[in-house]
C-alpha cells in the first residue's frame, strides 16, 4: 500500500466541498444524496466473481474509497479520514438476475440515484449489476458514487484502472499520490490544504469577483421547469437515446464545423438550451433567462491525471429567450460568453470561490447560491463529456456494448442533459425528476434536440 493511502487524512478539494454542500442540501430537501453514476452495458462473458474479488482488494488497498468525510473537530476543512476508514463501508455490489434485456436502463439504477449514501460513514461508492438470462444476453453495470469521490473524468480513469488490474497490467495498490488523489504528500496533506495560487487576499478578490458575476445573473433571474427549490422526495428517471453511426457522424461534423475542433461543447449546449426552451414555449411559460453551469476540467493537461477527488471549476452561461430563437445567434452568444469568462479568469475565480467552501458550513454555502439565483439553482444541468472510455473495449471479459454517464438532479431544476460519444455513437441522456415533463413535453424536448443536433430545420 502506498504512503499516500494511509499516511494522513486527505483534504477535500474546494470543488469537493462545494459538492458536499449540495449533497447536504439535496438530502435535506429531497431525501437523496447528490450522486453520480456511470453505466456500462456489457455483452456476455462478464466475470462477476473476479470483479467482486478485485473490488475487495482495491478497497482494502485504497482506504479513500471507504473513508468517512468529515470536518476534524467540526471546524477544520473537511477531509477523507482514511485513518478511520471502515471495512463495512467498502464499496458494495448489489446483484440481480433478469430474464430479458431491454433497451431501457434497469429500474434499480434509478433507485440507486434516488437513495442515500452517508458520507460521514464512508459510504462513497457502490455497484449495481443486472445479469440477463444467466449472462447469455449480457450484463448491465452501474457504478454510483458520492459526487465528490470522482469527477466524470476521474470515474472513467477508475474504470480503466480496474480493467487494467483485471488484465494484470496494474495492481490494486499501485496508484501513486499524483495519480490517486492528485496531491503531493508532505505539507499539503499535513495541513489539509490544497494547492492554491495567490495569497488569501488575491483569492478573496477572485472569490468576490465570482460572486459578483453570479449576482449579476439575478438582474434577469433564471427559471427551471421544476420551479424554485422545494422540499419533495427525489424520484428521478432517465432515458438515453443512442444515435446511429450515420447520425452521429453528421452531428459531430456539424459540432466541429460550427463550434470548432476541440471546442464542440457549446454546440451541444446550444441544442440543450433550445430543447428546454421549446418545452417552456409549449407550456406558455417565459423565463427571464436561462442559466446553465458547465463543468471545466482543471487537471494539468498532458500529465497522468488524478482519479479521486474533483478537479474542476465551473463556467456559467446566461442567455435570454430572444437569443434562443435562432440557433446560430445562440451559439454565437455562448461563444462570446465563454471567451469573455475565460479572459476574465472566471474559472480561476470559481476555483477560489469553491475553496471558501472548505471553511463555510455547507448549508450556508448552498443557501448563498440559492439566494443569488432567486430561488433557482440553474435552469438545468448539462454535461458533454466527449468520448466515453475511448481506449476500453472490454470490461472483465465482456465487450462494452455501450456506456454513458448519468447523475442525480435536484428536484429543482429537475432536468439534466448529459451527452457523450461511445464507439461512434452519440448518447443523449436526459435525467428528469418525476412529473417535471409530461409525455408530450418529453416528445417536444427530444424532437427539438434532434432537429438542432442533426440540422433538420436549419431555416429556424
Amino acid at each position: 500500500m502506498s504512503a499516500w493511502q494511509t499516511a494522513a487524512p486527505i483534504p477535500l478539494t474546494g470543488a469537493d466541498c462545494f459538492l458536499r454542500a449540495f449533497d447536504a442540501e439535496a438530502r435535506r430537501r429531497n431525501g437523496a444524496s447528490h450522486l453520480s453514476q456511470l453505466v456500462l452495458r456489457l455483452g456476455p462473458g462478464f466475470a462477476l466473481e473476479q470483479f467482486c474479488d478485485l473490488l475487495a482488494q482495491v478497497s482494502a488497498a485504497n482506504p479513500l474509497l471507504r473513508a468517512p468525510v468529515r470536518r476534524p473537530f467540526g471546524l477544520l476543512p473537511p477531509v477523507y479520514d482514511t485513518l478511520r476508514a471502515r471495512r463495512e463501508a467498502a464499496p458494495s455490489v448489489r446483484f440481480c438476475e433478469a430474464s430479458r434485456r431491454s433497451e431501457s436502463v434497469p429500474d434499480v439504477f434509478f433507485e440507486r440515484l434516488n437513495g442515500t449514501q452517508d458520507l460521514r460513514r464512508g459510504e462513497l461508492l457502490c455497484f449495481d449489476i443486472v445479469r440477463y438470462a444467466g449472462g447469455h444476453e449480457g450484463t448491465d453495470l452501474a457504478m454510483t458514487w458520492a459526487h465528490l469521490l470522482f469527477d466524470g473524468s476521474g470515474s472513467e480513469r477508475f474504470v480503466e484502472w480496474l480493467a487494467a488490474c483485471h488484465r494484470g497490467e496494474r495492481q490494486p495498490d499501485d496508484l501513486a499520490p499524483g495519480e490517486g488523489a492528485g496531491i503531493a504528500m508532505g505539507a499539503e496533506a499535513a495541513t489539509g490544504t490544497a494547492p492554491q495560487r495567490g495569497g488569501p487576499r488575491a483569492r478573496g478578490q477572485r472569490a468576490r469577483a465570482y460572486q459578483a458575476r453570479m449576482a449579476s445573473f439575478a438582474e434577469r433571474p433564471p427559471r427551471s421547469l421544476a420551479g424554485p427549490l422545494r422540499r419533495t422526495s427525489q424520484a428521478l428517471h432517465y432515458g438515453v437515446e443512442t444515435y446511429s453511426k450515420d447520425e452521429t457522424l453528421c452531428v459531430v461534423a456539424r459540432a466541429q464545423q460550427q463550434a470548432g475542433f476541440l471546442t464542440p461543447v457549446l454546440f451541444y449546449l446550444a441544442a440543450a438550451i433550445r430543447a428546454h426552451h421549446a418545452v417552456f414555449r409549449q407550456r406558455q411559460l417565459r423565463a427571464a433567462s436561462y442559466v446553465v453551469p458547465v463543468v471545466a476540467n482543471l487537471r494539468p493537461k498532458g500529465a497522468p491525471s488524478a482519479i479521486f477527488r474533483s478537479h474542476v471549476s465551473m463556467l456559467w452561461f446566461q442567455v435570454f429567450p430572444e437569443q434562443v430563437e435562432d440557433f446560430p445567434t445562440l451559439l454565437g452568444e455562448l461563444k462570446e460568453q465563454r471567451l469573455a469568462r475565460i479572459r476574465e479568469g472566471f474559472l480561476e475565480n470559481g476555483a477560489a470561490a469553491m475553496d471558501f467552501a472548505r471553511w463555510a458550513p455547507s448549508r450556508l454555502y448552498a443557501r448563498m447560491a440559492e439566494r443569488v439565483l432567486k430561488g433557482e439553482l440553474a435552469s438545468f444541468f448539462f454535461a458533454y463529456t466527449g468520448d466515453f472510455l475511448p481506449g476500453l473495449s472490454k470490461f472483465f471479459g465482456a465487450e462494452i456494448l455501450n456506456g454513458f454517464h448519468a447523475a442525480g438532479v435536484l428536484a429543482s431544476p429537475g432536468s439534466a442533459a448529459l451527452l457523450c460519444l461511445r464507439a461512434g455513437h452519440l448518447n443523449v441522456g436526459h435525467v428528469r425528476q418525476q412529473g417535471v415533463f409530461s409525455p408530450a413535453e418529453l416528445s417536444t424536448f427530444r424532437l427539438q434536440l434532434r432537429r438542432d443536433l442533426l440540422g433538420l430545420d436549419v431555416e429556424r
Binding site: 463550434a259 470548432g260 471546442t263 476540467n297 494539468p300 493537461k301 498532458g302 461563444k335 474559472l347
Partner: protein, 87 residues
Amino acid sequence: MAAPSRAELVRIIFDILRTQLLSVGSEFTERSSLVDAGLDSLAVTQLLLAIEEVTGVWVDESLLTPENLANAESLAACVYELQRLAS
C-alpha cells in the same frame, strides 16, 4: 515593433504550450501532436488568448481545424498567415 517571423511564432507558441498550458517533458517538440499532448477545449481557448496577448493576432474558432491544430508549427503557420493578411 516588427511582427514576429514565422520561426519566432513557432518558438512563442511552443513556449506558451510548454510553460503555461501543458505538463509535458523534453520529448514534446514543435512537431508533437497537440491533441496527444493533452490540449483540450479549455486549453485551446487559453492558448488563443495567450497568442493574442503576445502577437495581437486573434485566431477565430472557425480556423481551429485538425490541420491547424496538429502541432505548434502548423498553428504558427496559421497565425503567420493571419498576421500577413492583416498587415
